[in-house]
Amino acid sequence: MARYVARRAAQGLFVLWAAFTIAFFVLYLLPSDPAALAAGSGGEVASVDPALLDDLRARYGLDRPVLVQYADALGGAVRLDFGPSYQSGAPAGSLVAQALPQTLLLTGVALALAVLGGTALAVASVLPRSRWLRQVLSALPPVGVALPTFFIGLVLLQWLSFRAGLLPAIGNAGWQSLVLPAVTLAIPPGAQLAQVLSRSLRGTLGEPYVETARAKGAGRLRVQLGHALRNAAIPAFTMLGVLVGGLLGGAVVTETVFSRVGLGRLTVQSVNTQDVPVVLAVVALSALVFVVTTLVVDLLYPLLDPRIERAPTRKAVAA
């Protein structure tokens, strides 16, 4: 077990390193001149005083060879130091750290909503005796998957904030301001989860042990929740890493729609101003979150299904 954990952790570290490296070279080697970006000219070298450019290059260490810059950036990233932001001059790492708690709160609540709502919907789409009701309920997840996050946010804002005046439209104050963004953020991943879970639940209901349980007189509810759901949950559980990643991505749009302070807003601002160090820090953080989540999922597998001694390979996780 210890060897397995060590191997998976090493794989995770490799993915982190590679994600950082790719992001670094994409951001630093593509057409824009970072010094011109830092000077706030939108990447146009010609419009900036050359002396200022040289000064900026020296300040951000951009006058050194690329590989030296890369080694320096990687060494810094290990210590969570991503260099100063081009925009504010504050350390990019601490900008991210400041924005993180609000986003963690939002994505945490959204994850809980998505998991509870998605599971409830999946169970509800196989549970009722009425065929018509089952069909209506199982038509919902595909619709949820097709909704753009910003559209959900705007429609909720429109009807629940502006029309009905039930909940505040913008800001980070209090739990009321968290409700709409969390619901917005939770719908697409919740629907995705419901799709996978209800498909696997339908498959599981045809298994012999379900029939056995029924034959022994277990009620409909007990068979579906007690026997089938536990086994059907395994493929859905695998998705957790993807779901959490999707929530972080969705936070970018959600925080923009609801004007919330957080990592997503910081990302949008940094992309708008081409603030490379901050973008790099955000990408590295999201890769870290994904790696940690998949690792935890892998390690928890045997608890869900004792038949799996070792967690599955990366292919099964990615699927």
Binding site: F14, I22, S32, P142, P148, Q158, V252, D275, A318
Partner: protein, 311 residues
Amino acid sequence: MTATTTRTPDGIEIADREDARSILRHGRARGAGSAGPWAARAGRYLLRRPGLVVAGLVLLLVAAWAAAPAVFASGDPITGVPADRLLPPSAEHLFGTDHLGRDVWTRVVHGASLSLRTTALAVVVGLVVGSALGLLAGFLRGWVDDVVGRAVDVLLAVPSILLSLAIITALGTGPTKIAVAVGVGAVATFARVMRAEVLRTSTSVYVEAARASGARWWSVLGRHVLPNSAGPVLALVALEFGGAVLAVSALSFLGYGTPPPTPEWGSLISGGRDYLATAWWLTTLPGLVIVAVVLSANRVARALETTGEDQ
């Protein structure tokens, strides 16, 4: 199982198991010529799936908007009539008008071209790069497979919208750059599916036969492996198309697409944000168009997937 005679549903006994399987699956159309022609079968298939028909029609309609917008909305999408500001939907203005008095329906129809071109380019980028990587990985195996597999892992580790945003940071804004950014996000999925398919086909008997008869590796790849691996990849194209519509509209909603006067679905909705309290139609109706397109693409993808499984 031993080879015994098999009885088809209409009571004909067939001695050979392979024949029996093929006839049970495809009907007797080929041998006996009694089943209806191809068109009739397609008709029956579609009749049982009204949702699929609607999905296909929606996609055709939107494609027609993109090809000939003036046929569906003759007005001017750029300049409005100031007197007609913020009118709610009516027979004259199906989707209402915006703050400059422009007809929203006209703007949605004219925006289809840019939105769909951006989406299509994104899917093509993902398809071409991803399939090439998956093809090489599955066919050559060894270290190429390892490298591609690792690269896919890394691409999957970063949420695709953040990956796209990183690329936009570096490249700048504009529809083409959005398309590239979204396409790169789709590379990993295409590579994975293509690799799995190629692994499946390249162990099959006909590939072995082609190799044994001395065909070069590229001709085995082009004539045998690629055509037989294409099915699931095509289903994925439809699925990724829906995903790309969402991603492209999200990025242009965030303001990384074309600057304002040009109609585009995402930026159209973003423009309606300032009038949420008063003019619901500015965001809701164009949004529903996006939802309809994505739903349709996903429905078609599911149909392609299941017919792929039958074969």
